[in-house]
Every structure is written in C-alpha cells, then in structure tokens.
C-alpha cells in the first residue's frame, strides 16, 4: 500500500496540516483532537511527542509540551492512546518529536510501533540528514515510515538538493530563521525564499511551516508550495477555547 502521505500529496489541492502537542490541554485529549481535526477537513496532522527541552520551538509549543509532560504524557502512553486510531481516522498522521525520547524507547521498537498503529511519517528536528542516512534510514524504511526534513532560508541550494535526494515524502520548509511561532506575517524576504525554492524544481513537494497563523499567511505560503502547517496558533486556540471548538479554528483558515 502506498503511504498515506504520498497519496495525500498526489491530490490536486493545497494541503492544510495542523500540529498539536499530544496530551494537551488534557492528558486524554489526543484522540479527540485528531478526530475533530479530520472532521473539520484538515488534510494531515502532526502529533507532537512532548520533550522537556524542545530547542527548535518557541514559547507556545514549549509551554504546551511542559504542560503535557506534567499531565503525565509519555511515549508509551501516546502509543496506547493511538492504538485504535486507524479504525476511525484516514488522513496521514505524522509524529513530530525530538530524538532523545525516541532513542530511549529504542529506534527499532519506536518505528515498529508506528507501523503497527498506522503512523505514516516522522519529523525529528534534531536528527540531522547525515546521521539519518548513515544509521537510521534503513530502519525507517523497513517500517514504511517517511522521514521529513527541514530546510530554512539559510540552507544552501546544494544542501537542499541533498535533502531532496534523501527525502521520499515532502520537505518541511521553515518559513524564516526562527523558532516556531515567532512571526506573524511574511515579508519580501520570505517571498524571495519561497520563489527560490520553487525555482529549484525539487522532486519532493514542499510544505511550509513556522509562522503560519491565519488565512493570510496560509494563502501566502501556499502560493508557491503544496501546503502549510499551523502549530503555535492552533495550540493557542486550544489553550483559550479548549477542545470543543476545533472546527471553528479550522474554518478561519479554510
């Protein structure tokens, strides 16, 4: 069977992907959030595996991670919560998290569990391309997992081509030199970057993340890319409104 991510990427539309932190706002909200996001028409979901020291994230995601850990979230519990998710949810599901908790679970065991549950891919910001390629690619592929790499405005064309070569799903385009949630609008610098990447004609489609917070930034980002990921803005919505109005949030973007 073709990976759900590849199937989704083949659809003729701009994709809306949403990130949220597992176990937030309450420990057992994980499954409800996923189901409601799918019902609201979201195309893909990044499930954040919380980490104590999330270097690439801004304050919003860090605080949600700290809260989720305080709630009692663990890797094993996340897998337990997700064990029946494929009975009701069909859109691609990606786990996004830092490498240390995965290492401690055991990389092989982690990947096997992802396959068993029906996770389609992983985003691991602190696992560099070279390490992945040398030590982990074989294992990820054995379990049918797509690993997604990040690029930034500072990434050289040469390195982007190398990342494109190793990737087999999409490339996560970080919108600006920043941690998550740091920007509210895109300026000419971002536009130039979006256009530069478009001109590279990469084999993998790109999805833009970091700094997508509303309809305006979503439309701007998807002018030249396949889709966009919203994280911090959705977490803020959950913080202020709880889990009962997820559809309202998605409606403001679409």
């Amino acid at each position: 069977m073709k990976n759900r991510i590849n199937q989704k990427l083949a659809e003729d539309k701009r994709l809306l992907s949403i990130y949220f932190t597992a176990g937030y706002p309450s420990l057992h909200d994980t499954v409800k959030v996923i189901k409601d996001l799918e019902k609201s028409g979201v195309d893909m979901i990044e499930i954040g595996l919380p980490f104590s020291d999330p270097l690439a994230d801004g304050p919003t995601i860090q605080e949600s991670s700290t809260a989720a850990l305080k709630n009692g979230m663990t890797t094993a519990l996340l897998f337990e919560q997700l064990k029946d998710i494929r009975k009701s949810v069909n859109i691609p599901l990606i786990i996004m998290g830092y490498f240390n908790p995965m290492m401690q679970y055991g990389i092989e065991e982690f990947c096997a569990k992802c396959k068993e549950i029906g996770i389609d891919g992983l985003i691991i910001p602190d696992l560099p391309v070279a390490e992945y390629h040398e030590h982990y690619q074989e294992t990820f592929e054995k379990y049918g997992l797509i690993n997604v790499f990040l690029i930034t405005p500072q990434t050289s064309d040469e390195r982007i081509r190398c990342i494109d070569e190793v990737s087999n799903g999409f490339i996560y385009m970080v919108s600006s030199a920043s941690t998550t949630g740091a920007k509210n609008t895109f300026g000419s610098e971002q536009q130039q970057y979006f256009e530069r990447i478009e001109a590279l004609q990469l084999k993998n489609p790109q999805i833009v993340g970091f700094g997508i917070s509303n309809k305006e930034t979503f439309l701007q980002a998807t002018k030249t890319s396949k889709g966009a990921i919203i994280g911090s803005a959705f977490i803020k919505h959950l913080t202020h409104n709880g889990v009962d109005s997820i559809e309202d949030f998605v409606m403001t973007i679409r």
Partner: protein, 393 residues
C-alpha cells in the same frame, strides 16, 4: 584508542551534532573554519598575548606543602583561580571572541548557570567592544545577584530564561533559540566542553593551555613532564578537559574526574552524571545525561551551581566508557569540608566546584611519592554566601 575527536565529530560513541536544520549553517561555518582560524599564526599570537597580558598566564603550578603532608603524597595545585575573572572560564571566552571576530560576527550570546561563564563572556565582549547578551535561568538570577551585577557593569544584557526549570539547561535552550533567530551576525560562546561538534573540541583546545603549562612547569619543579595523576571536577567538563588534554595519550598519567554527588548519588538530588546518566542527546551532542526512562531530561542538583548540569561533555563520556578516566562523586558535605580545609591549610579559598576535586583524598589514597596535580579551577569569592550559610560563619 584515540581520545581526539574524529572527523565526524565523535569521541568513540559520543559527540556529533544533533541540531535542528536552522542551526546547521552556523555550526557548519564554525566546523569548517575553527581549526584553520586557531592554527593561524596571527590568531595564536593574539590569543597568547591576551592570555599573558590580560588573563595573567601562565597560572602558577603551586606545590601545596601542608596539604601534601596531611595526605602523605605530593600535591600540586594548578592555579586557574588566579586568572582574571577568577576561573578557567576566561581561557575559552578569549579564544572564542577572537574566533567570532575572524568570522565577522558583531553580536555575542552566551548561557550561564552560576554566572562565571557569563562574566567571562561579558568581560571579553567589553574588551573587544562587541554587543553581549547572556541568558541565565530566572532562578539563577536570583541566586547569583553579584555576578548579574558584574555582567551588567561590564555592559552585557542579562536575559532571564523563564522556560522549563529556569536554570542552566533552560538558559542554554534560550541561547540556542536566540541563535536560531539570529543566524547571520551572532556567535554563540558555549561555556563548557559540550554542545554540537565542533564546540567540545574547540573549547577543549582553548582550555588545553592548562595541561600545556602543567607539563613544562612540572618539568622545572620535578624534572619530569608527567604527573602520576591529574584530578579535576566535572560539570560540563571544560576545566577537566583542559587539565587532562596533553596527558590523554600518556598512559602513565592517571585521569581522575570528580562529579558532584549532591546529597548522595542515590538521593534523587545529585549531579553525578556518569553514575546516573544514560546515553542520549542533550544540547546537540550524544553523551551521558540524566533523564527519565522516557527520555525527558531531568534537573540535577548540587550545592555548586557550576556542576549542576544534567549532561557531561562527550570527551568525558568516552573517558568513562573506555575506563581511561577514573570517576568519583563527592557529596555537598564532603566538598564543603574540603574547601574549608584548603582555606586553612594553604590560605586559598576555592570555588565550591573546585572543592569537589579537593575532596578526592576521602576516596582515594595516593602513594607518598605520587605526584598529584589538582585543577584549582576557580576562586571562592563568588561562593562566600554559600560557605557562610553552610558553616554559619
């Protein structure tokens, strides 16, 4: 067995650069240039001149007569406490500010726990007229008011790290985030032999002046370059790395590392990383670190703010795993007692970090003709309040 970093940035199983892509250009720029910069004759000249005229090097290698008599062995103290700013930290900040200048950076960031590295960084930034921002945990800012004032006097901005546990590891996270948000004009001066490659190696090389001097100083005093043992305290491990460096490949020299056991290794309040840690990833490198079974980094404890880091530099993890280093851990109580003892036997009030190394005599007996060099990494002025509270002075 090699104790040098390999071309991929590893010491055996430890090291590497586990960094988000946002940091890749900065770290890569440093990785591809640091050795050329450091080996450039004009760099060496400027570095050595500043170490001599500004820091006050060479630091003395002092034969501690009364301490030697008490423990019936020959103890030398490498007096890094006599450096400008009061500790070994400045060797590294001088080196890195010169690297930053050659890379054309005009903004410096740093993390600090107790404030010693922050002060050493603020000092060299003042010296070079470069903007300086120091991240410090909100809790540490309250605990270390004099060092906060020093940094401010030196013209640095001290930014509180309010995330997580609000201490050193969170200050490090905030500094890394700052670097992600300012990728072009900023250099991050990491204060210990930790972080993504090439930091552990670069910091170790800047600190290696310590063991370089020990060799010729000991030759002058004892007619031989190699002591029987070198002893140092380890938090992240920059002072230890510098104290060991030139002896790593000399098997006749015993390498002794002293970690902070806090209230006892198994008390739940400890920073003895080699005993309690497991292999994992912290701040961009694979090393031993204290963590939950689920891989969340835990908060260490030590009475010494400079040793309560949940990880240890990758070189030291390698020394531990290969058995090249002998690792000990010393409790708060034993360290404080050893600090008081040195004060009264030799008239030297050591930093509490250093006091841990001095407590080695509780755990290990040396032979009468052994030459034991202890890295006296810092002076105790900054710790006076802790000593006062502890001993009710």
């Amino acid at each position: 067995m090699s104790y040098q970093v390999n071309e991929k940035g590893y010491y055996g199983d430890f090291g590497g650069a586990y960094i988000p892509e946002m940091l890749y250009p900065n770290v890569e720029e440093l990785r591809t240039t640091y050795l050329d910069i450091m080996n450039d004759p004009s760099f060496k000249e400027e570095f050595n001149q500043l170490l001599r005229d500004y820091v006050g090097r060479p630091s003395p290698l002092y034969f501690a007569k009364r301490l030697s008599e008490k423990y019936n062995t020959k103890v030398y103290l490498k007096r890094e406490d006599l450096n400008h700013t009061g500790a070994h930290k400045v060797n590294n900040t001088i080196g890195q500010i010169l690297v930053a200048k050659r890379l054309g950076k005009n903004r410096i960031i740093a993390e600090t726990g107790a404030g010693q590295h922050g002060v050493a960084t603020a000092t060299v930034c003042a010296l070079m007229g470069i903007e300086c921002i120091v991240y410090m945990g909100e809790i540490d800012i309250k605990r270390q008011a004099p060092n906060v004032a020093r940094m401010k006097m030196l013209g640095a901005e001290v930014r509180p790290a309010k995330s997580g546990s609000k201490t050193l590891k969170d200050a490090t996270n905030e500094a890394i985030r700052d670097w992600i948000n300012n990728p072009v004009d900023t250099h991050y001066i990491i204060g210990s032999a930790i972080g993504p490659h090439p930091y552990p190696d670069m910091v170790t090389r800047f600190q290696s002046i310590i063991s370089e001097e020990i060799k010729w100083q000991l030759k002058e005093k004892e007619g031989r370059e190699h002591p029987d043992y070198v002893v140092a305290c380890i938090g992240g491990g920059s002072n230890a790395a510098g104290t060991y460096y030139h002896f790593l490949d000399e098997p006749s020299v015993g390498i002794i590392a002293v970690e902070a056991a806090g209230k006892g290794v198994n008390s739940g309040e400890s920073a003895a990383t080699s005993q309690l840690g497991k292999e994992g990833i912290i701040h961009g490198c694979k090393t031993l670190l204290m963590q939950t079974p689920d891989g969340q980094i835990t908060e260490p404890y030590s009475i010494s703010a400079g040793l309560d880091y949940p990880g240890v530099g990758p070189l030291h993890s390698h020394l531990y795993k290969t058995g090249r280093g002998e690792f000990y851990s010393v409790t708060d109580d034993d360290a404080m007692t050893a600090g008081l003892e040195l004060s009264q036997l030799e008239g030297i009030i050591p930093a509490i970090e250093t006091s841990h190394a001095l407590a080695i005599f509780n755990d290990k007996t040396f032979k009468p003709d052994d030459i034991v060099v202890i890295g006296l990494s810092g002076r105790g002025d900054k710790d006076l309040n802790t000593y006062i509270d502890y001993f009710k002075l």
